[in-house]
Amino acid sequence: MRSEALTPSAAGARAITLRQAILEAIGEAMEADPAVVMIGQDLGAFGGPLKSAEGLFTRFGPSRIIETGICESSMTSLAVGMAVQGMRPIVEIMFSDFLPIAATAIVQLAANLRYYSGNTGSVPMVIRTKGGDGPYRAHPQNYEALFAHSPGLIIVSPSDAVSAKGLMKSAIAANDPVLFIENIFLYNAFRESVPAGDIVVPLGKAATAREGTDVTIVTYGRTVRTAIAAANELARNSIDVEVIDLRTIAPFDEEAVLRSVKKTGRLVVAHEAWEVGGIGAEIVSRVTRKAFGSLVCAPELIGAPAVPVPFAEPLRDVMIPNVARITAAVMRVLPR
């Protein structure tokens, strides 16, 4: 399995979930640096929604795990104030549905501060949230593209436990605001071997989740795993797919994407979010503009169709890029 490939069998590695890996990163960062604090709703006895803060309150107490009422907008602005004063707040927005409430604080305040202040201030802040379709089907929004039009903001979404830990560490260490999106479906879906202590997974760098020569699939989050499954299926027909896991969605690793497309000449982009106006449009556009000559055929984009995300399973299942949809897209970019 892929997790094997990614994980050096380091001393102290244990099989943990993506959720636990993120918690481990936060816990280690909080141990190492008193400036790291967390702020959000129900982080105490409840342990955060979906146990996203499990154990932290007991370890770090109310002055570092700060509970507020329902006020995502001002809570995020408040965290900007903390960051400006040298703290490293991690803002917990329970679910991505609530990101638009904090849009002003994220897009207009956090993202702009370094530039507008002429580098006299900075916002070392992580906004973490949970989104995407999951086992209990609530809070299925994928709003990352709403924030990918904001110079100054970094957006991250991990697909596996090891990189989740490493990316969270990098996000906390960064001196710029990072929107960190944790996919609900992946939250407890698997256990992977994750080393204790520091793992360095840099922001802004994509990973080649699977090497291949025939077609490039660019994706992130949950869809990385679906793409790998599709690639494995296609491999049985001797179709060799390369899967690029963006990890950082914005600004994305243009170099890695272009390198792969230049090799394969064929591009499929896949994500859970709406196709229209989504991250995929930016990737297709960038590749087309920068590597038009390498493309042998029209790129394919697989995402959600243009309706609000419905609740019922039979409807939701049409929205999400599954193995069949991705496989079909790969077939469309191959010569018949």
Binding site: D42, G44, G69, I101, P308, P314, L315, M319
Partner: protein, 326 residues
């Protein structure tokens, strides 16, 4: 208020029985939903606020219920129990057609606003806007909105009450205060005395009532609705109730105080109304038969709702996003 204390208005036995039956139906619906999903947000024990409030509207008034316990509100206005349960087991014939989480369904055909976004807060403004429309058109309709104590801490709450007051909208705001916002005792995150105290600062009449006394709620809402209808403008009610159990069905609520849990058990709004009914000479057997009848109706409704034709991928409705294709 102890049972039998003087009431603000006369209640006929029939009216009392109507409220009772509605509360029993509300509880039955919730029980059925909890059985269906551990992620249901139950309103058990909060029926006094829900029924006390939404029973006091005219059919043409706008109802904007809180997400917790809102499923019964369209039933009060004529939606069949099969359709109510259909919201929770989405099918081709269910009201939501599977598009929304059942508890957020509302029912616009019945003048009941759905929880279109699960962001807490905006519906307080939505209700204010509905009320303002009625005022502009000189209709004698009002809007009534319920929302939680957690929701009362949002900026939307304050902005909405301020607009409602400044514009004189015929709206009644009801805070269904069950003491908790998920695991948070709201008294810990809401600074100050009470939500009612906040509301009073917008210059509108406010009342603090025992939300587990359905009659007290109904009387307060009835008064303020009449006042708003007569052009008196907005009003606010804080109805204190108690969340019975965790935030969702599968949440054991381990963080809740024993005190809260005991108080919730002790002040069951249905039992309290039943005491009133007894005092008014209503026989025990009649009360019991209500429970039995409702249980039967619900079992039947669940079965019928479950038997509706299942949704398929063809029901996505790609062309139902705009009125005219763009």
């Amino acid at each position: 208020m102890p049972v039998g204390s003087p009431r603000a208005r006369e209640w006929t036995l029939e009216e009392l029985c109507g409220l009772h039956r509605a509360m029993v139906v509300s509880r039955g619906i919730e029980r059925a939903c909890i059985e269906k999903s551990g992620h249901w947000y139950p309103s058990l024990g909060e029926e006094g606020v829900i029924i006390g409030t939404f029973s006091q509207l005219r059919p043409d008034d706008a109802a904007v219920p809180h997400y917790r316990g809102g499923l019964v509100v369209p039933w009060l206005r004529g939606r069949s129990l099969v359709q109510v349960l259909g919201c929770v087991t989405p099918s081709q014939t269910s009201p939501t057609r599977g598009r929304m989480y059942g508890g957020f369904a509302g029912g616009m055909e019945f003048g009941v606003m759905p929880f279109i976004t699960n962001v807490l807060g905006p519906n307080i403004a939505v209700a204010t806007g509905m009320a303002l429309s009625f005022k502009i058109r000189r209709e004698s309709r009002v809007a009534v909105v319920t929302f939680g104590d957690g929701t009362a801490g949002t900026g939307e709450f304050h902005e909405s009450l301020n607009m409602g007051a400044a514009l004189g909208a015929p709206v009644v705001y009801v805070c269904q205060n069950n003491g908790y916002s998920i695991s948070t005792e709201t008294q810990r995150t809401l600074a100050g005395k009470s939500v009612a105290d906040w509301a009073s600062r917008y210059g509108m009449p406010t009342a603090l009532v025992d939300g587990n006394d359905v009659l007290a709620v109904a009387e307060a809402v009835g008064n303020f609705v009449a006042r708003a209808r007569a052009g008196g403008g907005p009003a606010f009610i804080e109805a204190k109730t108690l969340r019975r159990g965790g935030h969702f069905g599968a949440d054991p609520g381990a963080y809740m105080s024993d005190e809260h849990t005991r108080a919730a058990e002790d002040s069951d709004p249905i039992r309290r109304l039943e005491q009133v009914l007894s005092q008014r000479g209503c026989e025990d057997s009649r009360i019991k038969s209500v429970w039995a009848t409702v249980a039967g109706e619900l079992a039947d409704a669940v079965a019928k709702a479950d038997a509706q034709p299942a949704l398929t991928c063809h029901d996505l409705g790609l062309d139902e996003i705009f009125q005219h294709a763009i």
